[in-house]
Every structure is written in structure tokens, then in C-alpha cells.
Amino acid sequence: MRSGPIALRAAGAALALVLAPAAGTALAHDGVQATATPSTAAPGADVDVRVKGCEGTTGAARSPAFVADAELTGRDGGAYALFGGATLRTGLEDGTYRLSVTCDGHDHHDVGTLTVRRHQQPTHRPAPVTPVAPVRAGGGGTAVFAAPVAPGVAQTASGDGLGTPYTLLGLGMAGAAAVAVAFRSSRRRRAE
């Protein structure tokens, strides 16, 4: 067999081996992984950072979302995680931000992510999943002093019926008519 094709194949394999780590998963570089808690936070919030895979007792976690690097500390040995905290910048856009870690004298890029979302619901008050409140379905444009609860019927705050002005009108008309009838009757008696 010719040596040329073998050499080409070997070179190709070597190239693949060299490139593979760089093309590997973004989240686990040399076994280092970083997680932020909470993984979704609002701008300005504090997050805890936990890093696995570092051998030493110190390190730092960086992110474009952090105000400053998170100082990491922990116990010695690869089996133990390093811990730290960071504050998110205010004015961050919603989105996913990468975490990078420096430990054991090396930079480990893109070993974790965190998501920024503004206007979050507090976790102790979950959003209702069924309707529980009265609807807000009116701008008040047709309301005068009191909104008509039936079309064309003006309602006063005191209750049903035509209202006080009509009550007074009715009383007045009845009174005037009674006076007129009495007056006419008395005039007739005197005239006879």
C-alpha cells in the first residue's frame, strides 16, 4: 500500500483529535462545570455560583452579566465544589449569558450559563392558573356620574326606581292637583 493515503488519513485523524476538544461541549471544559442559582434572575439580583471540577480551593467565576467576578472558595480536591456569589448588573437585556471560570491556573470558558429575565414573579407567589378575579373590561367612556347598568336607564347611587327628582315631581303634581280639586269644590259650594 502506498504511504501517501495512509499519511493523509493519519494527518486527518490527528487533526480531528486536536480539534475535538475545542469543538466539544460548551458546558464542560476539562470537566469543569458552573451553575448559577437561581438560573433565571432579574437584573440587579444576587446569584450563587457553584463550580464543579476544579482541583484547588480557590477560583473565580466571570460573566458579562456580573458586576464583578465571583470569588470562589471551597475544599481541596476535585470531588468538592467551589462556591461564590455574584451580583447581576442592572440594565441587562433579557437573554442567556455565559459563565467562565478560572481555577487551577487555567481559564475555562463557557462552562455554564445563566438567563436574565426582567419583571419576574416572586417564587413564593406563583401566578394563578385559573381565573380568580373580576375582569377589567371598561374604560368608563359611557359613565356619567353613575354608569348606567342597563342601557338607557340612568341609575342614582341610592338604588332602583326613577330617582329623587321624579319622586319630588310626583309628590308635587299630586299635591297641586289635590289643592286644585279642593279649591274648585269649595268655590262650587259657595257659588250654589
Partner: protein
Amino acid sequence: MAASSRPVTGVAWAVLLLGFWLWGRDTAWGPGGSSAPTHGDVAAVGRPLGVDLPPSRAPIPGAAEPLRVEIPALGVDAPVVPRGLDSTGAVDPPPYETPQTVGWYGPGTTPGAAGPALLVGHVDTETRPAVFYDLSAARPGATVRVTRTDGSVAVFTVDDVRVVPRDAFDPRAVYGSRAPGRAELRLITCGGTFDRATGLYTANVVVSAYLTAAE
């Protein structure tokens, strides 16, 4: 009796009777007789006094979503769009920019399926009446037709109209099923008085209906 005094006497009697009628109407006619919904506690308007309501029909199979709603007695004929909840946990009506559109609570029951389907529309915008302006004039026996995406039409009959104050709001009565297994419909808008300080109406008008036919 002199001839000239008869017309005057007649007019005087007419005025007297009219006056008593106007005065008495205000005191004698309570919620049972008034044609308008009243304030205060939950008031059932127009409870059928001997109005025969048709039997309910079994729910329509399938979960086709609503496209249009018509209430012939009120002149309502409007498109329906799916909506969710607002930040207070109420069904969110369509935006004020589309005041003649009716919202349907999408995660809930579809009209024609068993359970309460919820339709919400504005009574007015900041300047003019909106799609559900006349909703409080609905009466038991009126029909509501909902056309669905599968071409079927669910026909409902109104059996209850009530005004529910915001501060005495029972969500189970308004949003929940009234008879198990029945296909039901709620049409909800704002009512009561408008509080300019808060920008909110003080009550909800809730029209309840149940499935009586399918086309």
C-alpha cells in the same frame, strides 16, 4: 256641577293619579319588578317568573375553538380571540384598540364542550361604547350563538343575569360550572358605577347560558 268645571276636574284627577303613580313607582317597585340590575349585593335580574327554558343539550364533541359570537337580541355579532389571564388573575379582555372583539379564555373550556366557557368583552372604552355595552340588557330565554373553527354552531340559552360587585366577587360562582357535565357559557363585562379615582368599574355583569342546540 257647572259645565266649565268638568274638564278642569278631569285634568286635576289625571294629574293627581299621574303624580301618585310617579311617586309610588319609586317606593313600590323593588328588584323583582324593576327591569334594571341593581347595586349592592348580588341581584338576580329578570329571574324567570314562569319563563320556560328549553332542556339542555349534550356537549358537542371535539374541542374546536370559537370564531364568532352572536347575541341576536342585543345586536351583538363579533369575532372571538383567545386570551389569557391578566396580572390580577382575571380573564384579560382584548385590548382597547380592538373594542368590538370578544375574548375567550383559551386555557379553559371551549364553547360547546362540557364546563363553563368564558367570554369577556369591554363595556366601553375611555370614549365610546364597546362590544358588550348592551350585555346587561340580556334576559333569560335569549339565545347566544357561537360559531366554532370546525364549522359547528353552539347555540346557548341565557338562564341568569347578575351584577357581581368587585368587592364581593365569588370566582367559583362566576367562573365555575353551575351544573356538572353541562356545556355552559359565561359572558362577562364591567358594570356598576365607574370609579374615576381607580379607573375601574365597581362590578362585573355576568350573563350565564347553557347549551341547548348545535348546528
